[in-house]
Homo-oligomer: 202 residues x 4
């Protein structure tokens, strides 16, 4: 993996967290993935349900006419999303399904903010299966909101033994796993970005 | 369909709604299904995200030691769930996925409250596919929380043309559709209830 | 787990294998699960795609009027399925999806042969995630064919290190994992069987 | 929709059919989609399980060292797949799941033949839900084999009333539905193709 970018051409990535608690296992995975993205010259903006603290969705942004009635932080977040090239979801699972805090966060934004973007999934679990059950629902959802989900999914079983609290890898699979994911994400996101620049979108 | 019950042996059903708005298409479906359940001698308790108005899940009930710190309405709802024989989910879809208000509601309760219960899915959409995409994620989730999902799924495409605001059927498929669902739900829920009474649970 | 049965009341289980090769990792899992089922007084009939050697489905049995034109082994297998109380699927994944040999085998039989039966999933993988991606599709499929899928799924990551070729457990999770699955399967299958005996089916 | 191509730059599309029978509803959908693709200057090669008549997968091509032992038609089909830019799957559902003839066909080919390709789903059903349940499993599978699945899915409920046997549209939704799908497919497939030409693949 040798993704090298001039700063001006760096991909803009929005990283969604799936956890609505703090402290949480999600933080170690998020730190690790964010570090790996930054090292490979990607710009990362984090969407954290715990910080954004949004209510359970009643009306999505696209149904609201006057956005001045919306929380400022939600409008700011949407601007970052619109400006981004790709999204990366870092999530565990809740009852082996998508955590409600995550689907709630995803659903707040207009579909137009997701259109013609690339998405990637990093999932984890305290136990043996790496969050793959929620990841399967998430891949479906990421397609339905209008992103193309890259084939590679990076799943981390027994997460507290795999990454330290500071997001340092504790086994040999972490670096290669995240590397494969980022290489693929970078490739697809640039394919999409370049076509948008040259041809616009339909 | 000829499900007849003495009041004392009626199945107790908790009906989850998937909508966090009001007014909403969900109400017409909920009224229709509730009427059909009551007519066939089932007792129905409604769990409505809009009325229960729960925050985005931070900590599930099973993680909370002192339930006196929880909202009274949540503790009451859990008591109704524990006392129930089956759950029926009446939901549309959000971005063709499970509405966050619904997964949030489901996830608040302890897994022990769902164990050895039967579940059924009624889904709908304003458009042609009847909410089947969310239903597929929902069937997975209902299994993972510990219920057995009955095979029949009752999907209602173009819902506002299928049921009136008062929940009256506007086409020929509604009565037969809900009838099949309830017959199957009733059969399975009694199978499970009777074994629980005689043998307990493992 | 203390499931004890007189021979006459033993549950009849059909065990589907997902592998169409031989030798294969599937055999060690199948032996292990079959041994565990027999030890707990269950009768097991194995449906093996490699032995049954069915063609890719053109016409399901329920579309065929004259079953004397069908392979004898298929008609015999269907008789065993009709007589059974539950099915257990033991399968890896193919491209992280249901192996075609398995869906092909399942689809040959009439839906009436599956109705009011209980199903359980044992999945495995050579790698870390235990076959959970295929299991999610399989749980959906098992619902759609008319069975109720028990909540517990027994997933075995790194299968060749977990079970010997003879189906002997090589780590501590195997016995407890299969035990939980069988206890739950047994409980649900008897609930369904007893209601069928007493009330028939709708 | 105004996708116009010089012949030399036309996208090469492989169209997978999901049906292993003849006559079949699949043919009317396939004709309709193929016509629409050709009219918009795409080259289409059809992979038809009924014509290719492959056995139930025992060993995928990537496991076979000497391809001269394989059926000639399978090796030829793989060459067409390797040369293609995108795949379109036209499929109904079997027990609301992926037809085994389709997953069998998909699984025969090496993963390297799918890598960095775009995929699209056209699904249909005789009844009301348009095959969306199988489509959800198919989207998962298309990701796992290494393609990126475009967000739009074109589902056709009550297919025999929607398209004639010759693939002529019988209602107003057909042209707009296939148009949206092709516009999106074309856009993504060119994004991917252009980046492959200029940068290769990782």
């Amino acid at each position: 993996m040798a993704v090298k970018e001039t700063a001006k051409d760096a991909l803009k990535i929005v990283m969604y967290l799936g956890s609505n608690r703090n402290p949480r296992a999600c933080s170690r995975v998020a730190k690790f993935v964010q570090n790996a993205l930054v090292k490979t010259n990607h710009e990362v903006t984090v969407f954290d349900p715990w910080e954004l603290d949004l209510p359970v969705l009643k009306q999505a942004m696209m149904m609201v006419k006057d956005w001045s009635t919306l929380p400022e932080r939600l409008v700011r977040a949407n601007e970052a999303l619109v400006a981004s090239d790709a999204i990366v979801v870092v999530s565990g699972e809740y009852n082996h399904s998508i955590p409600p805090a995550l689907s709630n966060l995803i659903d707040h934004f207009p579909l137009s903010s997701y259109a013609f973007k690339v998405s990637a999934i990093v999932c984890y679990s305290p136990g043996p299966y790496g969050g793959m059950r929620a990841a399967m629902q998430l891949r479906a959802m990421l397609g339905e909101i209008g992103t193309v989900s890259i084939p590679n999914i990076f799943g981390i079983p027994r997460v507290t033994g795999a990454l330290s609290e500071e997001g340092e890898p504790l086994n040999d699979h972490m670096e290669s796993g995240v590397g494969k994911l980022i290489t693929q994400l970078d490739w697809y996101a640039k394919a999409i970005r370049d076509r948008k620049r040259e041809n616009g979108t339909p």
